[in-house]
């Protein structure tokens, strides 16, 4: 077990270095840099900036250096825990990202919790009450849930809330709490707002997970050991929960590996639609403004979150399934 985890951990830095190269290449690939679009913006606004000043700024941000030098500088900063300096906001990137990252992770975990809390019982119910009315209702929900992109769901929900209740369901905080420091009141306020984006984000995953749970459990329910237990007079409820469910849930754990990362990056689009203060909208703005150190750092954070998500699921899988745990021994 330990060896398995150590192996995975050793692979981590190699992957991160590879990803950092890909990410850096991507963010500096477009022609021009932040200053060219900055100058263009100033010109369209009617003001101008001196050529020497632009050159001085370019030198200050290191934009006049060749690509590999810039990359090495960026990496050097990253290793020291310095994410660089945002060209647009004129603030350190870590300051910009900090709280937004917490909210990103929190939202993803919240959506994840909703998914599991809804999908597993619904899947068990569907499998034990096959072809019942509720089973069909879940199946319908399932198809629609998979077919609706989550940004569209957010859009439709926002429209319904606005036109029938006059509610604006954007953001994660009430106006009083947006700038306030963390407190119990702020946390409660967050919980009041986070459930809708959480549901929007989690619905496709819920649908898929429910389907897998139902199929797995149906396979298990036909096995002889279930018949034996039933013949011995075990209560149906206890029987289902104690044996088949435990077996049916195993393959679900292997889905965490792709599901958690998907939630992290999926929240990007939902956050943009619903105007949530997480790193998604920040990335979008940084990409369109060519704020390359900011977008690079955020992309690398997404990569790390993805890797960590996969790692967690590998470890969980090894914990529940002895066959995988023993492979290396």
């Amino acid at each position: 077990m330990l060896r398995f985890i150590v192996q995975r951990l050793l692979l981590l830095p190699i992957l991160l270095v590879l990803f950092s190269i890909i990410v850096f290449w991507l963010v500096q690939a477009p022609p021009g840099d932040f200053l060219t679009s900055y100058v263009a913006n100033l010109a369209s606004g009617g003001s101008s900036i001196q050529e020497e000043q632009v050159e001085a700024l370019r030198h200050q941000f290191g934009l006049d250096q060749p690509m590999h030098i810039r990359y090495l500088r960026w990496m050097e900063g990253l290793l020291k825990g310095d994410l660089g300096y945002s060209l647009e906001y004129q603030r350190p990137n870590s300051e910009l990202i900090g709280e937004r990252l917490v909210l990103t992770v929190f939202l993803a975990l919240f959506a994840f919790a909703i998914t599991w809390i809804v999908a597993v019982p619904a899947g068990i119910y569907s499998a034990t009450h096959q072809n019942s009315l509720l089973d069909y209702a879940f199946a319908l929900l399932n198809y629609v849930g998979v077919a609706t992109p989550n940004f569209m769901l957010a859009l439709i929900l926002m429209w319904v809330a606005f036109s029938s209740f006059g509610l604006s369901v954007t953001g994660l905080f009430s106006p009083d709490y947006i700038q306030a420091p963390w407190s119990l009141g702020r946390l409660i306020d967050l919980l009041k707002h986070i459930w809708l984006p959480g549901i929007v984000l989690g619905i496709a995953g819920t649908a898929r997970l429910m389907r897998v749970m139902r199929a797995n459990l149906l396979d298990e329910l036909n096995k002889p050991y279930v018949v034996t237990a039933r013949a011995k007079g075990m209560s149906e409820w206890k029987l289902v929960i104690k044996y088949p469910v435990r077996l049916a849930i195993n393959p679900l754990i292997s889905t965490i590996g792709w599901y958690l990362p998907q939630l992290f990056s999926g929240s990007l689009i939902v956050a943009t639609v619903m105007n949530l203060p997480n790193i998604g909208p920040l990335l979008l703005r940084a990409l369109t403004q060519r704020d390359m150190y900011l977008s690079g750092s955020i992309l690398l954070i997404y990569c790390s979150l993805t890797i960590i998500g996969t790692l967690i699921s590998d470890i969980l899988l090894a914990l529940v399934d002895p066959r995988i745990r023993m492979e290396g021994v």
Binding site: L26, P30, V146, P149, P261, V273, L284, L287, Y302, T306
Partner: protein
Amino acid sequence: MAENFQVEETLVSQLVSKAEERVSVASNWQLVWWRFRKNRLAIISSMVLVLFYVIVLVPDFFSTQDPEATEAFLAFIPMQGISFFDSSGFNLSVPAVVGKRNPVTLRMEWKIDETKVPIRLFVQGYKYKVLGLFETDLHLIGPTDPKSADWLYLFGTDRMGRDQWSRMMFGTRTSMTVGLVAVALSVIFGVLLGGISGYFGGWPDMIIQRLIELLQSLPTIPIWLAMTAALPQDWRPDQVFFAITIILAFIGWTTLAREVRGRFLSLREEDFVLAADLAGCSRFRIITRHMVPAFMSHIIATSTLAIPVMIINETSLSYLGLGIRPPAISWGVLLQEAQNIQTVAQAPWLLLPCVAVILSVLAFNLVGDGLRDAADPYGH
């Protein structure tokens, strides 16, 4: 009586053996088709898809207006519902809309009027070219009197007075082709690289597998955004279109490659491959004539299920402003108009492209599920 019974019995057994014979000599494709035919949902869904792709071929025929025509004072005209009957029997018509400028807000306010505008099928409208071949002015639906052409807005108009119905026809063309082309590219990459990986094994396999693992552990949406943001701003719409399909296929091929590799690995050990090898077939011939046809139906099922994912991704990217760019029209581009919730509350028909997306994705999923079940010889 007994004789009769016997005759009947032989007839029945003859029929049964005929049916069995039919099954035993049927090609794989025929078997797949017979099984697919039984799935009613999948058949209905494939009809929906056929309809969608007819629109893709001739969007002009289904449009009622030029999708680019803007007329600022015609903004936010509401939807006009078609009524099928009037006092004299079956006659298609739409209610007329009348606009009045609000003296306070200076905004046009539209009202559905009592008077009817008669419409009919197959009318003459603006001229267009069918597939770039020949010119015609025939349209599916339009006002009976061509002079009142400006007043048919089945799905209303947007902020710039463009006809939503016609724009959705053109959006269908872009969005449905993006999915198809992106998946076609993924299939080419996937089959090629997965085939190399599975058939040859060794170091090519090693390299391709590591590459797939690397690509699959990238966070897809952020990386797509970074890639599309890197596309030069001055590209023509068709260049952007192909760039987007390549970007979507860039990660999409990995799942297919994995599947193909798995099939190759299991088929490599089969007797018929060994037989072909012993008979002196070249490697190329073994792969293309014997192995690929054996798992072709699976590839088709998997790629059918991949198309809706591509459609969703394209729509999301375009909605964020980083996919297909205006003046090109796709469902995502149309939904950009619905970004402001106040505007949507005022003009809910701007959300109609959602229906198109959900319908097409649902249809593709159902057809894909049907194909996958039909392609599996060990199914029921």
